[in-house]
């Protein structure tokens, strides 16, 4: 059972109130991009055993999208944060470092 804190309405929402939105911080490549960039934007995803960043929507709730950092192996949640960002904020990265020293995810560390 996954429980995520929704940063928009302040509710600790249980999994069935949420809908998953896949990997977080995917950078869009559109017109002018190379075929490889566009292919990776569409299909290439991380599949980590450990620290991962995801998008979630509080669908049966306030309706807002937000981000979550969690461990895919233990289901431990490191924190949730605003959707209005293109990268994990410092306090989230620090919270992960405190529990998983030396972690990396894509080019983030």
């Amino acid at each position: 059972m996954l429980i995520l804190h929704c940063p928009y309405c302040g509710v600790d929402a249980e999994e069935t109130e949420l809908s998953p939105g896949g990997e977080a911080h995917v950078k869009r490549f559109g017109p002018g991009a190379s075929d490889e960039e566009f292919r990776d934007y569409l299909f290439a995803r991380e599949n980590p055993k450990g620290v991962h960043f995801e998008r979630w929507r509080h669908a049966n709730g306030c309706g807002k999208w937000f981000h979550a950092a969690r461990c895919t192996m233990t289901l431990e949640v490191f924190g949730t944060y605003s959707a209005q960002t293109t990268e994990p904020p410092k306090e989230i990265r620090d919270a992960i470092t405190a529990k998983r020293p030396g972690w990396t995810w894509r080019e983030v560390e």
């Binding site: 309405c9 302040g10 929402a13 049966n60 306030c62 309706g63």
Partner: protein, 191 residues
């Protein structure tokens, strides 16, 4: 030939069920969705114009002289005027002026029920992933959540009865669901 419907009717015709809790459809009730910048003067003025209430805080419900204002999300409120939705919507639109906001009459798209009685908290807790314990949920609070398979908004009045709003198309489902959860003999006794 069937007669055309000329006056609005509720989804369940005022249905009522008595069990561990009393479940009752509220009669025709105005509901206006208001979306906009909740920190703006225009939205505050619109809330006051429609309900006579102050702007509710996060997950708050505020009762005014002429209606209730309910916090739905960081940029959405539900205004429930007691009467005259059309006239109230006119006041809201006038108060919003040129502000970037949206106000729509959704009364006929929703159904409203009350769940009351000593076991009301428990009946709802059977259906929603929400802590309805007396210390955790009380009057003046609202929670949007999942009730079995459909979304619902639930808040508590001062007399500790609950109000439940769901989409009109699932009103019968929600009513029956609550009826089953309130079946005599099925009390859990957690709260």
């Amino acid at each position: 030939m069937s007669e055309p419907i000329t006056a609005p009717i509720t989804a369940l015709g005022g249905a009522r069920h008595d069990g561990l809790a009393r479940i009752e459809e509220v009669g025709l009730h105005g509901m206006i969705t208001l979306r906009g910048d909740l920190a703006s003067k225009a939205v505050k003025a619109a809330v006051m114009a429609a309900t006579g209430a102050k702007l509710p805080g996060q997950r708050g419900v505020v009762r005014g002289k002429s209606g209730t204002a309910i916090w739905m999300s960081p940029d959405e409120l539900l205004l429930c005027p007691y009467a005259e939705v059309d006239a109230t919507l006119g006041k809201v639109t006038a108060a919003l002026g040129t502000a970037h906001a949206l106000a729509v009459d959704v009364s006929d798209a929703r159904a409203m029920l009350t769940v009351s009685g000593p076991a009301a908290r428990e009946v709802l807790a059977k259906l929603c992933p929400v802590d309805f314990a007396p210390g955790a949920f009380g009057p003046g609070m609202v929670r949007r959540t999942r009730m079995a398979q459909v979304p619902a908004a639930i808040w508590m009045e001062q007399d500790e009865s609950f109000r439940v709003i769901c989409f009109r198309s699932v009103a019968r489902y929600v009513f029956d669901l609550l009826g089953v959860a309130a079946q005599p003999g099925s009390g859990v006794g957690v709260y």
